[in-house]
Symmetry: C2
Subunit: 327 residues, 2 copies
Amino acid sequence: MDLYEVIIQELERTPGATIFIHKSPDGDALGSALTLAMALEARGKEAEIYCWDAVPYFYRFLPGWEKVKRVRQENEVFFYPLVVGLDSSDLGRLPFLEGRPPGKVVNIDHHPTNTRWGDLNLVEPGAAATGEIIFRLLEKWGLEITPEMATCLYTAIFTDTGGFRFSNTTEASLLYCHRLVKLGASPYEVATHVYESYSPGRMRLLGLALNTLSMAAEGGVAWIVVTREMMEATGTGPEDTEEFVNFPRSIRGVEVALLFRETESGVKVSFRSKGKVNVALIAASLGGGGHKAAAGCDMELPLEDAIKRVVPLVEETLACCTSSTFS
Amino acid sequence: MDLYEVIIQELERTPGATIFIHKSPDGDALGSALTLAMALEARGKEAEIYCWDAVPYFYRFLPGWEKVKRVRQENEVFFYPLVVGLDSSDLGRLPFLEGRPPGKVVNIDHHPTNTRWGDLNLVEPGAAATGEIIFRLLEKWGLEITPEMATCLYTAIFTDTGGFRFSNTTEASLLYCHRLVKLGASPYEVATHVYESYSPGRMRLLGLALNTLSMAAEGGVAWIVVTREMMEATGTGPEDTEEFVNFPRSIRGVEVALLFRETESGVKVSFRSKGKVNVALIAASLGGGGHKAAAGCDMELPLEDAIKRVVPLVEETLACCTSSTFS
């Protein structure tokens, strides 16, 4: 019996599941969780989805999004005998799961840095998105994929591959999405909701952030900054900065792009690499984590100090890289 | 014998073909032409590709791009007995083909407005890109699709669907691209070349332009401004503002987006509509032209006067529109 079959057995056995997704939920976490909840409901089971943060407004077209409950205190959570954590490399991403939950814990993820924090760990780093693993799970489960599930899973794969632009995009990602469109997902509607639903404030924030564009290492490193003042001036929040780091990333010659965002306690740093530098290692050395090409960390430092600490580290790492994975 | 077979017979019969692509060549025209030329060469035939304009720098990764010859005088063209025009709805897009070419003329295109200007007209409006038609042609021809061809055809489909974001994206587009990746195309390489080649100056210009974001008609109209001063300050030129109008367009609730760019003699206005408003009519009333969803005009007015003239016109037109093409 392979791991998929073991997990399907657990899902079939339980009267319901408590599904957790990571802080700052993205399209992959949300799409995967909503699909799994729909699948459980189709099998006559209960499902609750919890997240530390609210669903960003541009994902509020996903069928069932309003079922995602926001949790800030562990005792608010209802624990079914089965707990499923999705798209979360470690328990730091699931703060409410600290301390042992009462049920059996299933960890389904595609991050290579996943710490195998579950009782059952279905971790497939080759998958572009956790949504691809959920797709395979539903197929092995023999469940019908409804148009609503197809929209959720398409969004999961579409967003986690950056719209099929990142290096994790495989022929399998495109084949899954072809099949999901046949099953009822609309590429245009998903793209319109995800990428054409900027608020005016978010667009203004992007302008202010781009005004801070700085570069180092002869154009190999580029970063932008979002301060709390900017967010106040534009009436925006942290979720409005999603994707911002891709703007410095899209500059010709840039190998590593960074976004420094002021938080209440310091700075959140997002790293993007085009391939030469493994930014997961840099982020991990600062207490964070992620993928080779996309990582992040939180620093309890003033903005200027965080920049002074991170940029030289990235420059050094880039200087050490002589081989290229993309020419 | 279907039209594909007739065209394959012509391609097999001729010692070579003269391939034309439209002015302002895009990824679909270039990718389709380069693939067809490679196919002819694989069959031991000659092929020449001509275009009125130069290949944009971000398409200069396409295998064979340097074979595309720029032509401004008809007598520079070498005419084989077979002439193939690609991705061109009418002869206005192929100015060098005015007057009758000596060979048999094949017209392969996917624009619904195609005027059937060839002797053989393979026009399929259901195809997201001419590249999809070329893919089918090669399959029916029984030719091997090399990694170089796969890169060209993937680029054709990827760019003409706006990275799988436009409403023309179908399950077939995704299936073709899945197969093209299996045949050797790299989604990441293509996306990086096409969409991640901003100069630092262009990114700074984008920030300055977004700082000018203004809105009217309760959020239904949004515009940004690029002044000559901004271009001077960032070392950029008019070509760096391409795609800028899509930023105000991507704001939720915006029906019409505008870009006002200062020129030497006045202002160039770009219009984008999400469907309710036919911006070609507005642009035409100001001496310009275009399509329902994308149009433009030149105005010999100072920037502020142009804005004062255009915005109320757009507001009035929007107020008259009650139906929506996308809900």
